[in-house]
């Protein structure tokens, strides 16, 4: 099992390194802008007042305080760019972990070995989990080091809470995407199904903020539970978010493992 895990990690190391570096570079970019933003904080705050409240809420900007690093990063980095990088990394990993192996026939090499399908699945799953951990650690707690480097004031507790929330969001996204990878035999379909669902959830979250009549739709969106402002600024994660993210992760993983053990695997 370890051989399959390690081989999968090695095969995907380049994309992991690239995405992790991108996450750090984006942070560095936002941090380099921050002193200038701080100087303009008052006028920017005035500008924000002119936006409709529902608009600010839809894009997670309702608590935006421009002279607070955590508030600034929760909006600029962690509400959109970070989820985008995370989703691209993990959906592409899961698409290639199972579906691509089936699509290209390389799954036969694994299946011909004296290793159970469950072990194959979990070796692949944990390789992705390793990617997830590395990316989360590289792209969230690293803010503390970068903030020190740029001489910006920060509150370290928020980044620990944010890492936990980011980890759970990433785990749910990854596990669901692995389920798609097991269900489909083509990576294109995995990308389409996973990314499609995530886009739908993103749109649902925005729509629910814009119209009161459909506000309950937010409960069907990961983005509602992934409240970066709450985690970074108030150091708080809604209990419901734990249940939703962990529930989706566990259910998707169990279904994926069972289905992979039972399904026909042929090109």
């Amino acid at each position: 099992m370890f051989a399959i895990f390690w081989r999968t990690v090695r095969d995907r190391k380049i994309s992991l390194i690239i995405y992790s570096i991108l996450g750090i570079l984006l942070l560095a970019m936002y941090l380099s802008f921050f002193p200038a933003i701080q100087e303009q904080a008052q006028s920017l705050q005035e500008l924000m007042k002119s936006y409709p409240e529902s608009f600010l809420k839809a894009f997670g900007m309702e608590d935006m305080i421009f002279n607070n690093l955590e508030s600034y990063l929760s909006t600029e980095q962690f509400s959109f760019m970070w989820p985008l990088l995370m989703i691209l990394l993990l959906v592409s990993f899961s698409g290639s972990a199972i579906a691509r192996e089936i699509e290209r026939g390389t799954a036969e090499i694994l299946l011909a070995l004296p290793v159970s399908r469950l072990k194959i699945f979990f070796a692949k799953y944990f390789a992705g989990f390793f990617n997830l951990i590395v990316f989360v650690l590289a792209s969230i707690p690293s803010t503390i080091l970068l903030a020190k480097l740029y001489g910006v004031e920060y509150k370290s507790e928020g980044y620990i809470i944010m890492s936990l929330l980011g980890f759970m969001f990433a785990l749910a996204t990854y596990s669901f995407s692995m389920l798609m990878s097991v269900l489909f035999s083509e990576k294109g379909k995995v990308y389409f199904a996973s990314a499609g669902l995530i886009v739908i959830m993103y749109v649902l979250n925005i729509i629910s903020s814009l119209k009161d009549s459909v506000s309950d739709l937010k409960y069907f969106s990961f983005f509602y539970y992934f409240n970066a402002g709450d985690a970074l600024v108030r150091n708080h994660i809604d209990h419901f978010a734990y249940w939703i993210f962990l529930g989706v992760a566990v259910l998707s993983t169990v279904l994926a493992a069972v289905w992979f053990s039972r399904r026909d695997i042929a090109v």
């Binding site: 051989a3 090499i109 011909a112 070995l113 159970s116 039972r262 042929a266 090109v267």
Partner: protein
């Protein structure tokens, strides 16, 4: 003693009956051929044997173990050559070999096999020719000296010299007690190395024969040139088929005993006769025509 037993194997994909009630058994130490045209169900049957896909009904037993419920234990004893060589493009041959060794254990013969096949394991798979990919696939299947070899089209893409190497290595494995199950389109190859052959058509077994019996189903192509006009209908004998009528002769296909046609020819003035024994391929095709 049977080491592979397939009983009434059925595998349907929707309304397509890929394998429809196939049964055969393979004895220990024999080289068993599995013949059939494209789409006959050979690869589907092999994938069921390897537990890549699950049969709708029927039973597959290998070395006395159920091929589905005990597949992990069985795969430790099976060397499998994938059809079309589905290898990882970005790995080198050495990466593949090391990966298999990490799971199956250190190979004692991999160096010999690499040398035997004149294969360079340091090149990435994406840069290899089809023949070299096939070599790597064979090395991976053979390197852990399995008790059973399941080879799907083992000589596809190999030149005649390497084909002969594969035949020799396969026979060497047989001598060591290995049982070989191989699918093939190449009938002369089956004729060369197999002890018995199963013929599959449209998912159903056409026959299981010893190679010698298959050859015993004699068939001849006879071209006769006459000195004058002849009524071809006089040659409508049992087992004789008129393939082509020429201005001065007739081409016949003769199944079974060739003497009746000579008895009839003796009544005519014959200018020339050309007789050729049918190849195994023609015999094989005849099976299908017979079934149609």
């Amino acid at each position: 003693m049977s080491v592979i037993e397939v009983k009434n194997l059925k595998k349907y994909f929707g309304s397509t009956k890929a394998v429809d009630g196939v049964s055969f058994s393979v004895e220990k130490g024999e080289i068993f051929g599995f013949l059939g045209p494209n789409g006959a169900g050979k690869t589907t049957a092999i994938r069921c044997m390897m537990d890549f896909i699950r049969p709708d009904s029927g039973r597959i037993s290998i070395l006395g173990k159920d091929a589905q419920s005990q597949s992990v234990a069985l795969k430790a004893k099976i060397g499998y050559l994938v059809s079309g060589i589905y290898l990882n493009d970005y790995w080198t041959g050495l990466d593949h070999i090391k990966f298999v060794e990490q799971i199956r254990g250190k190979s004692k013969i991999v160096r010999d096999l690499v040398k035997e096949f004149s294969y360079n394991p340091r090149i990435k798979v994406r840069s290899l020719s089809t023949g070299n990919k096939q070599k790597l696939g064979l090395i991976l299947a053979l390197m852990n000296e399995p008790e059973i070899l399941i080879l799907d089209e083992p000589t596809a893409g190999l030149d005649p010299i390497l084909q002969n190497s594969v035949y020799r290595i396969t026979r060497d494995f047989q001598k060591k007690g290995c049982t070989v199950f191989m699918s093939s389109h190449n009938l002369p190859e089956v004729e060369k190395i197999c002890d018995r052959v199963a013929i599959i058509k449209d998912g159903k077994m056409a026959d299981v024969e010893k190679i010698s019996n298959l050859k015993g189903k004699k068939m001849h192509n006879v071209a006769v040139y006459f000195n004058g006009p002849v009524d071809a209908d006089k040659f409508k004998l049992k087992g004789v088929e008129i393939v082509e009528q020429m201005p001065d002769g007739v081409n016949f296909k003769v199944k079974g005993d060739i003497n009746p046609i000579f008895d009839e020819l003796a009544k005519h003035s014959v200018k020339n006769v050309e007789i050729s024994g049918a190849t195994l391929e023609e015999i094989f095709l005849e099976f299908y025509q017979k079934e149609k």
